[in-house]
Subunit: 601 residues, 2 copies
């Protein structure tokens, strides 16, 4: 039963009580939708997850893709599952009706994806990447490119990838050397090697559309000389017929710790005459287009990490409710019946931590998706700009916090099961292995911390930063007016003050001292900001829950809201105070890391 | 090269500069040893690791044990490697000369094991368990049992297991139900199921000696009615000939996240007439004997976790020294050459954290092994008692801190490598998977925290606790007298004060309030104590290093000691202050976890 994978009640809480997703139906773009169509789409996602993804989840983990020296081969069930997702319209839920989409808000699409991800995160990688690829070409490509590449991707006949990383250029994209040479017919010939390309080869679709970053001959060095190309596995004629194989070869597969359903490939472009590539947009603008895709991808990474955390939480919770073991400390009679482990305080701690991390992370990701809807469809121009600014600012946190704390949640899920959690008789060890990728791909935690501190915070005279602080203050004011929550409002206000003093100190120092020293605790800064933002998400949830418990509720609903309030308390009491020490390291400009010399290690 | 697996210079530092292991040669039992014989044994361990374990490390991870419905089968290289370890005398390094051992101090044996573990942790599981099993029978068995079972184990013809866990009794051993019925010939018939038995079946040796916990018919309930039995896979006649198969069947193998060389088995005892078992010692004393083995096993778990951390540190350090990527923030020229990633402050942070965790953990484990030597061989009776008391007290910390922080170190090792670290082209993801077991087996972190808070701390009017505090104070006084270290001495004194106030608060509360509520932050208490103990280990290392840098040193030695001092600084500045918040949760008797109701989740 998919119902036991995730808590549907909680997702409905977030969508309709926390984020008022129903109000989106009043906007032009979503006017054909209603709470009923949203619920129907959710039901569809649950059914597809249940029928097509969950039954093969363990199999895709155990039977890894194979490389025969030329192509990659997967178990056929993956193609069936992918097709079911596409046929149900779930692969391009936000796309326009006339491009074959469901034209749903991103908020709803994000919620739909939680069920699919919980049942098959790595299988869903194909459709997620394909969708992001198609969105990018729609945004920056020509009408002909949309016709030729996007339509078959929307229909599930082609899949898409993003091909950025090279053996010599991972986090340091500025140094990529894949070469593009302009041809008389307007196309380009691409030569170079790309690694860690997810879905870079497989036997699931008729064609693969690689979006490749490369440098046109004579382009400037660094990030300003990078262009973006469509490089298909097979060439396609103007009438849409699939032609000969392009000069793109699979050099091998990487064997990963988790996420085995999706291939991770090493691709050689142009070993013969150069692979045929088609420029997207203008030359040397490639990185800014790719960031369009990457920002979306970062929201997806955060959401995926949150979902793995939720799935592990739900699984270990169900286990703890049914597994008898040991006695309470207060019970001294060895003849007494063992209790279910959910009764032990330390097990409660591990479950509460998972709940606080996972639901806090999901609330943030859905909040991000809501901002994405607002930036595209809010009635007012200023509202759109504001939403864009806040989402852009929050992106490194949305990507990183769920990745780091989702993994920690999965650590606890294993720990709740004990020895059983270490075996593949339960999926929690798989969640842990899969989630370990999330702090790495689409920009590591270190890279995200530099993005936040070096770019997002100071940009436009701290405009994004100030907007974020204002938004948090609004919730603090609201909660401060509620007696039962005023203590938490005051705690968050204090934390925000700590963040602000820290921000000023480190930004001031970056002007006056060596910047590598000043920013040497950037990850701690990201940790502080992340915890403040998640505390904010919990205060918002607390506001809704507090209002609800004032009313006459059904018993199970009352328990649900009490759980929300207790998880909020847990986050404020157990987690948020951690920031004081982290912030002190940043604020005091501690240079212990910076001072360490390579030969001292 | 094994030299690149671990830092030999560091191990020598710990043995001879920190723990004065050479002085052990003045004791009767070790009088035939010298620094030269210790070094020779170390060289042997490195050679065996290099020639027999390292070459098959990845293979044992990729090719898992197979179950044919009756027996378990392993790749033959494991048997060869195991035999090489035994033939070199490394499997029973501490055993008496006349039992085929090398009669080495535990301190040296522990150091030897680091090289073997780094090169093949899970293969070494067979010999580690066999050695622990043999030690137990030596301590509590009869002369005939030693002759019959221990001798072939020492020779490598038999292996040993510890069979405790049952499907219904994991952490709650009190509820185990495996049954033993006394026979007229003095033997017993054993009936029951045991799970997660490491090395419970394989084709590596002629016989397997299971040490099985079971309940003799009519024995009291709970932990006071548990007896210990030798239950061999094959019966052995009195002249040592291997006879018919005992009634012990392999019911299946567990598939674990890591540690694939060693089988994890489900065993059925007595499906036919009952398995023949031989009582060890007296009836109903089984758990206390088993704890003899478990305490040793806990020291091994801590050491294994520390070694995985060291191996990941060393690997990611070597990678960081050679991998060019990106530029320092201060460098604005895109035409400049990329730096090796070890130059980036955030990479230094992740390496320093690994160094601080791994070397701090190893220092603690070797200190524990030194206490083990003192409890057995110190010239003075009081010294022996003191050593026993301190080791007994520290055992939950020695088991847990390296397990939790070693895993965190391996997390950083992966992160230093980025995407590469997530693939099996590098061993760091394997270290991470293997290390994940350590916070679980031989008593989970939660169980250890209850052992510390509920048992070790209050026992004998806080005698062990006080002895530990005194020992730490001695180092504080020593460091306080050194100008360059007095700041760290003062910080540790403050931390010890925090620990003490916290201990008093929680112990007081356990008398006056519900004990499950009072102890509901027991893991945080263990975290606080662990951090204080590791800070102590770093202060001790800092004392040695500080003295050394005052002297005229070779350049590489100077760098080594500077590294020790910087890692000490890192631990004191970045890590130790974390305890303030954790201690506050314990001291304030926060009941957020305890108050959470099962139906609120």
């Amino acid at each position: 039963m998919a119902a036991s994978l995730l808590n549907e009640r909680d997702i409905a809480f977030m969508l309709y009580e926390l984020l008022d997703a129903e109000s989106l139906t009043r906007r032009e773009r979503f006017s054909e939708h209603s709470r009923e169509t949203f619920d129907a789409a959710m039901e569809t996602a649950i059914n597809v997850a249940d029928k097509h993804l969950l039954p093969i989840r363990q199999k895709t983990d155990l039977i890894k893709p194979e490389y025969d020296g030329k192509d990659a081969h997967l178990i056929p069930e993956i193609k069936t599952a992918m097709q079911a997702v596409i046929d149900a319209g779930l692969a391009s839920a936000t796309a326009d009706f006339d491009l074959g989409g469901m034209q749903l808000p991103s908020t709803i699409a994000c919620a739909l994806s939680t069920h699919l991800t919980a049942a098959g995160m790595s299988t869903m990688g194909y459709t997620t990447l394909t969708n992001a690829n198609a969105n990018l070409i729609e945004a920056h490509g020509t009408a002909a490119q949309i016709e030729k590449w996007v339509k078959p991707m929307r229909a599930g006949r082609f899949t898409g990838t993003m091909a950025m990383t090279e053996p010599g250029a991972g986090s340091g994209l500025a140094d990529l050397i894949t070469k593009a040479v302009r041809q008389d017919d307007g196309s380009y010939r691409i030569t170079g090697n790309k690694i860690y390309i997810s879905g870079g080869d497989h036997d699931l679709a008729d064609n693969i559309v690689h979006l490749v970053l490369a440098r046109v001959q004579g382009a400037p060095k660094g990030t300003k000389g990078i262009s973006l190309f469509i490089v298909p596995k097979f060439l396609v004629t103007d009438d849409g017929t699939i032609g000969e194989r392009n000069d793109v070869a699979l050099a091998g597969l990487f064997h990963k710790m988790g996420g085995h359903a999706i291939t991770s490939t090493s691709l050689s472009f142009g070993e013969k005459d150069g692979a045929v590539g088609y420029l997207v947009g203008e030359e040397n603008m490639g990185l800014s287009y790719m960031f369009h895709m990457m920002n979306e991808a970062r929201l997806f990474v955060g959401t995926g990490a949150a979902v793995m955390a939720l799935a592990g939480y739900q699984y270990s919770l169900n286990y703890a409710k049914e597994r008898p073991q040991g006695r309470l400390l207060a019970e001294k009679d060895p003849n007494s019946t063992p209790v279910n482990i959910i009764e032990h305080s330390d097990v409660k701690r591990m479950l509460l931590a998972q709940k606080a991390y996972a639901e806090g992370a999901l609330a943030l990701c859905l909040f991000g998706a809501r901002l994405h809807d607002d930036e595209k469809t809010a009635p007012d121009v200023q509202q759109r700009k504001d939403a864009h600014q806040l989402l852009d600012f929050l992106t490194p946190i949305i990507k990183t916090w769920p990745s780091e704390y989702g993994l920690k949640a999965n650590h606890y899920a294993i720990q709740v099961l004990g020895g059983a959690g270490y075996t593949n008789e339960h999926p929690v060890e798989m969640f842990y292995r899969e989630n370990r990728l999330n702090p790495i791909h689409e920009g590591t935690t270190g890279i995200q911390s530099m993005d936040l501190l070096g770019r997002k915070v100071p940009r436009n005279q701290f405009a994004g930063y100030k907007a974020c602080v204002s938004a948090i203050k609004k919730s603090i004011a609201e909660a401060g007016a509620v007696a039962a929550l005023s203590e938490y409002a005051a705690t968050l206000e204090q934390a925000l003050e700590t963040l602000d003093v820290t921000t000023q100190a480190v930004m001031g120092a970056s002007q006056s001292m060596n910047i590598d020293a000043a920013f040497s605790n950037s990850v701690k800064y990201l940790d502080v900001f992340g915890h403040v933002v998640i505390a904010w998400m919990w205060l918002k949830q607390g506001l809704v829950a507090h209002k609800a418990v004032q009313q006459d509720l059904h018993e199970s609903d009352e328990a649900f809201y009490h759980g929300k309030l207790q998880a909020m308390r847990f986050f404020f009491i157990s987690e948020l105070p951690e920031i004081n020490h982290w912030a002190a390291l940043v604020r005091n400009l501690d240079t212990t890391n910076y001072d360490m010399q390579p030969d001292w290690f």
